[in-house]
């Protein structure tokens, strides 16, 4: 069980405190309610670029990283389509330094053209490394392009194209900061070896005077209806083997059906004992990889099923074989109550191990608060426990060949 306390500052900053007396560190995890879905279609990748700029110095602290390191700490961040999350870990005796650092960059960044130019270069290299120099590097570009036509979920966090990052201006940076980086749009978790009283004292001291200007992100996005026809892309890739990816949109994290879909995907293709691997990799030998997973986001859920084919097998044949297994699972002929119990036990175990990590707990507390579900953070296992076999079958009943998005990747010639 994750124990926590909450309080709210006058400027709207929501704070969660989690005490761990066995730890020697203090973590400040800050979630900003802004992600790639908040970008303009012609300025994609900006939320992620901005994440890099947050380390370029704030109004009173020109060298953020230098101070963190001098306090014996470390820090990092990540951006998704739905949020941006920053975390800093310091020895417990230097906790106040973390409050000073994190509050100052929420107060105001030290906007500079040089910092922007440098980070644009860094992010462009990241883009190339991830997207152009690794097998399936453009997968999330292709998946989102197929699943969405209007919604701002139609591009990945890294951005649609390099040019959007290259064109980012200092004015864009400033307006993004003032719109999204303020106390009302943030959640702070203080975790580790620090008392609730001390946390509150430091929060009031360092965050209390930050202006409450700005409003919480209303998270209003185009609600795009689910695909009602097969959508398809066929392209080449660095992978030396042909691959087939099939994707569907589904319920988000807050819906109970999403837990059922997660368990279903685990049973179908989350393990080498699942039917996907057993039938397609082990028995038929047509594939060298076959898996599936369900991602449960704040505003979307994605069911991804894929297989990588052995030499000489056509993509269309691969897709048919993937469907054969999926249909059997969908019809309920592959799974028993024992399979469901196994999936639930795996979920229970994963949750317990997750809760043994301080940083995981801090991030999870912020995530649940952002969802408006903090009081349910210790109920996750119960949510899995409630899923019955009929729920599983119900959750996948609408998945069909008529609403699937499919990608065929063929090897480029002259691969290394």
């Amino acid at each position: 069980m994750i124990a926590y306390n909450t309080f709210k500052l006058n400027n709207g900053l929501r704070v969660i405190h989690h005490y761990d007396p066995d730890s020697t560190v203090v973590i400040l995890n800050t979630l900003f309610n802004v992600g790639a879905r908040d970008e303009s279609p012609d300025k994609t990748g900006f939320a992620h670029l901005f994440e890099h700029l947050m380390f370029g110095g704030s109004v009173n602290i020109p060298e953020y990283d230098k101070v963190v390191e001098k306090a014996g700490g470390s820090n990092n961040a990540y951006t998704t389509n739905e949020l941006t999350n920053y975390y800093i870990t310091v020895p417990h005796e230097n906790a106040e330094t973390a409050f000073w650092l994190e509050s100052d960059r929420m107060l105001s960044l030290d906007f500079s053209q040089k910092s922007l130019d440098v980070q644009k270069g860094v992010v462009c290299e990241e883009f190339k490394q991830r997207c152009f120099n690794a097998p399936f590097g453009l997968l999330w570009h292709h998946i989102r392009e197929l699943l969405y036509k209007e919604s701002s979920y139609r591009w990945p966090t890294i951005g649609l194209e390099l040019k959007h990052i290259e064109d980012a201006s200092l004015d864009d940076v400033k307006s993004f900061f003032y719109k999204f980086y303020h106390p009302r749009n943030a959640i702070l978790c203080v975790a580790g070896k620090i008392s609730q009283e001390k946390s509150l004292e430091y929060c009031e001291k360092w965050y209390g005077d930050i202006s409450p200007s700005g409003v919480e992100n209303p998270n209003n996005y185009i609600q795009e209806s689910l695909p009602i026809s097969r959508r398809f892309i066929e392209t080449t890739d660095l992978s030396p083997n042909t691959a087939v990816f099939m994707v569907w949109r589904g319920p988000d994290f807050s819906k109970p059906e999403s837990a059922a879909l997660e368990l279903f995907s685990e049973m179908l293709g989350g393990s080498e004992n699942g039917p996907l691997y057993q039938e397609l990799v082990k028995k038929s030998g047509v594939f060298n990889a076959a898996e599936c997973f369900y991602t449960r986001g704040i505003g979307e859920g994605l069911f991804v099923l894929y297989g990588i084919l052995n030499d000489g097998v056509e993509a269309s044949k691969g897709e048919k074989l993937l469907w054969d297994v999926f249909h059997k699972a969908q019809q309920g002929t592959l799974f028993t109550e024992k399979n469901l119990k196994t999936a639930k036990n795996k979920a229970t175990s994963a949750l317990l191990f997750e809760k043994s990590s301080l940083i995981n707990k801090a991030q999870k507390l912020c995530y649940f608060e952002n969802l408006g579900l903090l009081s349910e953070i210790n109920e996750e296992n119960r949510q899995y426990g409630k899923v019955e076999m009929t729920d599983l079958m119900h959750s996948v009943a609408t998945i069909s060949q008529d609403n699937v998005s499919v990608i065929y990747y063929h090897p480029k010639s002259n691969n290394a």
């Binding site: 107060l107 462009c124 290299e125 005077d209 083997n241 196994t342």
Partner: protein
């Protein structure tokens, strides 16, 4: 309102109260390290053997032998083994390094008793069934071909092969022909020689108690006790070919650069000094490589350096990816930084910052219920003493600028590195 120009006081971590868990023995004689943390509900068991790729006859042999221990026994198929673990919410993973192999089992505490019989069977009777071996080779082959599409794979491989030789234990890259040739009998022999269940060192971390130890004792006492520990590996000296090696990848638009050199094994008193020197080179965000090439020039997403264990000593490695137009300027900058470390060694604020960072990170790395096995395994691999981590921190705080300059002069001559570039080199292979 606080004075935001006035930083809060920070304290350096100058000492550690930590002492690693002491070696114990289960009643059956098996070596044991136990780091209990109550009320988690879960625990991890690590079985560790001091043999890895260094002792294998061909590449991929050690890793295959370790991974495929769960591939079947005389009485259980791979599916049955996996099912018995997963149905109780337990999992296993295998890891093989140059000097060690390990199996890590994660389980809900109350379910440990259910998976112990399976573990006994795997440790005692792993049979490496031919069908599982064939499947493993096929899947590994495909995975290897995918890795070979990335510039980072080739720059590291070519660089280490230039340093240690193509078939050296220190390079440890899987050769496709070797993978295809691995046979059932050699795996059985490898397992018997190097991965004998009774010869494992056991680490328990997480929610464990006397009952847990009794279960494990029951497990290991059922294993064949006639097995003896194997001898140690021998290593060939490095070749250290320092000219530039390149590999062109036709679809790449970046270059991956890798530089590496060999350093003889140093004492536990000197290793922290080299680790500190590595911090300044490329070991953390505030390093000279990261600050110059990423934060000042924006040439790369990531560039860094590390010093790792090799057979006879240590391997220094610098690696990073950059736009193909920037490879030359990056190489020139790395050269300047290497020379700068002895001509203009870290001092004052730069030196203090790295020492404080080292102290904070060292203590932080001991945090959490599952940190202990990794810390002790490092000591087992290096032969460093139990009090190494406290000593290391003291050594760091007593290391001065002159010492770092001397070490940089002795260890980081840019002309002593093997260099490899892979990706958009524009030159035929």
């Amino acid at each position: 309102m606080p004075d935001r120009q006035l930083p809060p006081e920070t304290k350096p971590v100058t000492s550690l109260e930590y002492l690693p868990a002491e070696q114990q023995h289960l009643p059956c004689g098996v070596e044991l390290y136990c780091a209990p943390k109550r009320e988690l509900g879960v625990l991890r068991i690590d079985l560790y053997w001091p043999f890895g790729t260094a002792v294998q006859d061909r590449s991929a042999q050690a890793r295959t032998a370790c991974q495929l221990m769960f591939g079947g026994t005389k009485t259980r198929s791979a599916e049955v083994i996996l099912d018995e673990f997963e149905s109780w919410g337990a999992s296993f993973s295998c890891d093989t390094g140059l000097l060690s192999s390990s199996i890590s089992i994660k389980t809900i505490k109350e379910n440990l008793k259910e998976i112990i019989p399976v573990l006994i069977d795997v440790l005692e009777n792993a049979s490496y069934p031919q069908n599982e071996l064939d499947l493993f080779k096929s899947v590994e082959h495909a995975s290897l071909l995918r890795k070979m599409q990335t510039p980072g794979y080739w720059s590291q491989r070519l660089c280490l092969e230039a340093l240690y030789g193509v078939h050296s234990a220190d390079t440890n890259f899987t050769d496709i022909e070797d993978l295809a040739a691995i046979g059932q009998n050699e795996l059985l022999l490898y397992k018997q020689t190097y991965l004998a269940g009774r010869c494992a060192t056991v680490f328990i971390s997480g929610d464990c108690d006397e009952k847990t130890l009794a279960l494990l004792d029951n497990c290991f006492s059922q294993l064949n006790s006639s097995e003896t520990k194997a001898g140690v590996a021998t290593f060939t000296p490095p070749i250290n070919q320092t000219e530039l090696v390149k590999r062109h990848l036709p679809h790449s638009n970046q270059i991956s650069l890798c530089m590496a050199k060999h350093t003889n094994r140093v004492s536990p008193l000197d290793f922290p000094k080299l680790s500190l020197l590595n911090l300044f080179l490329g070991g953390f965000f505030g390093s000279r490589l990261m600050q110059d090439l990423r934060e000042e020039k924006g040439l790369t997403y990531g560039i860094g350096s590390n010093i790792s264990l090799s057979g006879n000593g240590h391997t220094w490695m610098i690696s990073g990816e950059m736009n193909s137009d920037n490879a030359d300027i990056t190489r020139d900058s790395i050269r300047e930084i290497l020379i700068g470390l002895w001509k203009n060694p870290p001092k004052g604020d730069e030196l203090e910052k790295a020492k404080r960072y080292y102290g904070g990170q060292l203590r932080g790395s001991l945090d959490g219920p599952f940190s202990e096995p990794g810390k002790i395994q490092f000591l087992l691999k290096t032969g460093y003493p139990q009090n190494y981590y406290q000593q290391a921190l003291q050594t760091i705080w007593s290391t001065d600028s002159e010492t770092l300059a001397e070490l940089a002069y002795n260890y980081l001559n840019p002309d002593s590195f093997s260099i490899a570039l892979a990706g958009a080199t524009g030159e035929a292979n």
